[in-house]
């Protein structure tokens, strides 16, 4: 029985949260990695693109909710997603036309594009705050839990509870679908391959009759979709606040890079690695140990490898170690 409790405690406080956080990071990292892979720069505006997509979806959700539409146990926001994606796609396409296109034509170095994307980030940053403000917005409806801790305790009679949120399940499923679809798209469709060809050698892509503007447009549309989905799922789980989306940029990049920039599978793996390292290394195993060990051996301290103060630092330290042993990330990314 106690062993069961230990397992459940571990599941509830380590595994499930890490999976939830990991898949959120992974979805964000997928967008970053795609831009890096095809357009060859690190897009700092991605966090704010996610915020914009989430915002557009929230506005649409409010509209739907006002109209009395609901999806039952699922959040209404899912219905509003296409609107958000469309709005975001329009925004990023316009941005590309107004901003990035010029630098592509100039064959500017990637670092210039990185800095340019920071300019775009500032602008989007302002735009989102302009439209919806800086405050927390809650827009989740439907059932919050698939199973809540209390229900679980009642059901099983264990001391420990296990909570699984609807948003977590949706996020994991969606992340899985997205990476599979993206992988298939890039490696097995003509358009996908032409995108890879474009990223490899732009001039030669021209010589093969590939239309660069089309490739770029498709990339941006996919990125807009990924960003919106990631932003909305994150918002459903944690609430929407523009500043958080900006902060999310760092772990997202970490995930994309540790997984290997340019590799969709790597983005997923990276997201989970970051999430698991953050949660596990700073988890205090006291409770678990108390369940498992005989009373005499019960730990005095917290049995915590490192205090949560260093959570962020620890995940970065792990990144550095991973990179030292696999210099291009887990899945062989590329370096410009």
């Amino acid at each position: 029985m106690d062993l069961l409790n230990a397992v459940v405690a571990l599941l509830n406080f380590v595994i499930v949260p890490a999976v939830a956080y990991g898949s959120q990071l992974a979805l964000g990292a997928l967008g970053v990695t795609l831009i890096y892979g095809i357009l060859r720069f690190s897009n700092f505006a991605h966090g704010d693109t996610m915020a914009f997509g989430a915002m557009a979806t929230i506005l649409a959700t409010w509209g739907l909710q006002a109209g009395g539409v609901s999806l039952g146990p699922l959040p209404t926001a899912l219905l509003a997603l296409p609107v958000g994606i469309a709005a975001t796609a329009l925004l990023v396409l316009a941005t590309d036309k107004l901003v990035y296109k010029f630098y592509r034509a100039q064959k500017a170095k990637p670092v210039i594009l990185v800095i340019v994307s920071m300019g775009v980030m500032f602008v989007m940053n302002g735009l989102v705050r302009f439209i919806i403000g800086v405050d927390d917005q809650q827009f989740a409806d439907g059932a919050r839990f698939v199973i809540s801790a209390r229900d679980f305790r009642e059901m099983t009679g264990l001391d420990e509870g296990l909570a699984i949120r609807t948003a977590t399940v949706i996020t994991v499923v969606v992340a899985g679908i997205c990476v599979a679809a993206l992988f298939w798209f890039l490696n097995h469709t003509r358009t996908g391959k032409s995108m890879r060809a474009f990223s490899d050698n732009e001039d030669l892509a021209l010589l093969s009759g590939i239309n660069p503007e089309r490739v770029v447009a498709i990339t941006w549309i996919i990125v807009a979709a990924l960003a919106t989905i990631a932003g909305v799922l994150y918002g459903l789980d944690k609430g929407f606040k523009p500043f958080t989306y900006f902060q999310l940029l760092l772990p997202i990049f970490a995930a994309a890079i540790v997984g290997g920039l340019g590799s969709p599978l790597g983005a997923i793996a990276g997201g989970f690695l970051i999430a698991f390292s953050e949660v596990t290394i700073t988890y205090a195993f006291k409770k678990v140990a108390t369940y498992v060990l005989p009373e005499a051996l019960e730990p005095q301290g917290l049995v915590q490898l490192l205090s949560t103060d260093y959570k962020f630092a620890v995940s970065f330290a792990i990144l550095v170690v991973v990179l030292l042993f696999r210099p291009t990330g887990l899945f062989q990314g590329k370096a410009v």
Partner: protein
């Protein structure tokens, strides 16, 4: 300046940056106070008051200082409400206010370090130093017969100062703090923190954070995972943002915030809400009070000269005198104009002690039925 020229005061808050969502209401509340004074015919024999805003950013002391510098030397402000975070506040004080002899009243800087800073008598704050609140929180918790708590604080001078003073007081009183863990603002995911907190155990979770930031994130994660269901909420956490979000899920949680006995607080909250400002937002009331005290002190001093105003602040804020509540600024101006004495109470029971900071009376609250209810005053 001539008598028809408006009196300019600066409002420097972290409008962009990590605490940007708190800045809006504080600034707006200050505007409400200024509007009230202007409606009453202004100060210093009919001069109207104009607010110039500056972005203190909370994260970039240099940019905040530059903004203050501009307000003082270019826009010509004669007094300042701000800054918001203790870091920026200290920097502006050193680099701008003292050299230029400007009175600076912060609605929200709570770092104990500011109590002893060399300020040439120009610096005041309406938020109490965190040292006092920690003690009180320990008393309240012990009073409920709770002997073991988990503690998490937002990783800045406010959170850390509060957490430290609380832990010291609580352990003194025989309680035990199972874990004292920081959380960072705006980091989105707090499962690691909650995992550690849950494992350490404790009857309740003390969350020394912000109600629309990491603190709420911690509570969300704790509720979701079933780790804790009762929370102790200090000032940064008590706001309708919290009850709006969690409703009766956090029933039974309790806490305290600097606030006056009597109905100053609630009437100011109502006043602000009527003006379209979220009166329950953290430090919004102090925002109103800061502007009010600053302007009333000018009226009392009969001039906008920094030294004179500084000398008048304590007179205006403290007894003796006619108590002045929210919405009574017109009356206060009248009394002062007539050479009388006032004791500004406002929405946060203003009472300045020692080096010019709020002495700290507190309101103990409890969440019940998804509402913040007042239990008693300390």
């Amino acid at each position: 300046g001539s008598h028809s020229e408006p009196v300019k005061i600066g409002v420097i808050l972290g409008f962009s940056g990590p605490l940007e969502s708190l800045a809006g209401p504080i600034g707006d509340a200050a505007d409400v106070a200024v509007a009230e004074i202007n409606a009453a015919g202004g100060i210093l024999e009919g001069r109207s008051v104009e607010v110039v805003r500056g972005d203190g950013t909370c994260a970039d002391a240099a940019a905040g200082t530059a903004a203050a510098e501009r307000l003082v030397t270019s826009d010509g402000i004669v007094g300042m409400v701000g800054a918001m975070c203790s870091g920026t506040t200290g920097a502006i004080l050193q680099a701008v206010s003292i050299p230029n002899g400007i009175v600076q009243i912060s609605p929200s800087a709570t770092s104990p370090g500011l109590s002893t800073v060399e300020d040439n008598g120009l610096f005041f704050r309406l938020a109490p130093s965190d040292a006092r609140q920690g003690q009180l929180m320990a008393e309240i918790i012990s009073g409920k017969g709770i002997s073991s708590v988990a503690l998490t604080y937002t990783n800045n001078d406010y959170g850390k100062g509060l957490a430290d003073s609380f832990q010291a007081a609580f352990e003194e009183a025989g309680g035990s703090v199972t874990i004292n863990a920081a959380h960072d603002e705006g980091k989105g995911d707090y499962s690691a923190e909650v995992g550690a907190l849950a494992s350490a155990g404790g009857e309740v979770l003390v969350v020394a954070g912000y109600s629309d930031g990491g603190g709420a994130g911690i509570i969300q994660a704790a509720l979701d995972s079933g780790a804790f269901d009762t929370f102790v909420l200090p000032d940064g956490m008590v706001s309708t943002a919290l009850t709006d979000r969690f409703g009766s899920d956090i029933d039974g949680s309790f806490g305290q915030l600097p606030a006056a006995a009597g109905d100053g607080a609630s009437s100011l909250e109502a006043l602000l809400n009527d003006a379209g400002v979220d009166g329950a937002s953290v430090y919004a009331r102090e925002g109103y009070d800061s502007a009010a005290v600053l302007l009333l002190a000018m009226q009392a001093a009969g001039s906008t000269d920094g030294a004179a105003v500084a000398a008048a602040v304590l007179d205006v804020a403290n007894a003796p005198g006619e108590p002045i509540g929210p919405g009574e600024l017109a009356k206060a101006l009248e009394i002062l104009a007539a050479g009388g004495d006032i004791d500004y109470v406002g929405g946060s029971d203003v009472e300045l002690i020692g080096p010019g900071e709020s002495g700290g009376s507190y309101r103990e609250i409890e969440i019940s039925g998804g509402e913040i209810t007042t239990v008693t005053f300390h």
